[in-house]
Subunit: 84 residues, 2 copies
């Protein structure tokens, strides 16, 4: 079966996000005002094969933990979609 | 009114995504096999104030076009949520 996972990796809420802060400031310079907060993370789309949904979930979890996110500073969540 | 926009900025489908290709290769090295494709983009969460939904949409569109995405290489989409 083919699956598509849409993975969101975001900086933990407790941590400062310097990239987000910079964007926030620059939006103001561009006259986009009243912006309270900006946080920037990654969006990863992964297409892959797996035997079933259980294995698909395992694969995504493994990919997130081993490579895609840094658990010290980031959290992840994902949505799994069956393609066929 | 307070709004939260969740903005996804992804490399255009027609273009190579070298970062995604590298991740794809490294997943294999970590024994996560049968991965077909990986594409990596940005996920941006923006909290802001606007008078109404129309103005909120305008703000997000302006932010995407002027700062958050490079229209030559990336596409964006977003979801708007009313916070209060």
């Amino acid at each position: 079966m083919r699956f598509k996972a849409e993975i969101k990796v975001m900086p933990l809420k407790e941590l400062l996000d310097p990239q987000g802060k910079t964007v926030s400031k620059n939006l103001k310079n561009l006259n986009i005002t009243q912006v309270e907060d900006v946080r920037i993370g990654k969006n990863i789309e992964m297409t892959f094969e797996a035997n079933d949904e259980t294995q698909a979930n395992e694969k995504v979890e493994a990919a997130c933990k081993k490579l895609l996110s840094n658990m010290v500073m980031e959290s992840y969540e994902y949505r799994l979609e069956t393609l066929s």
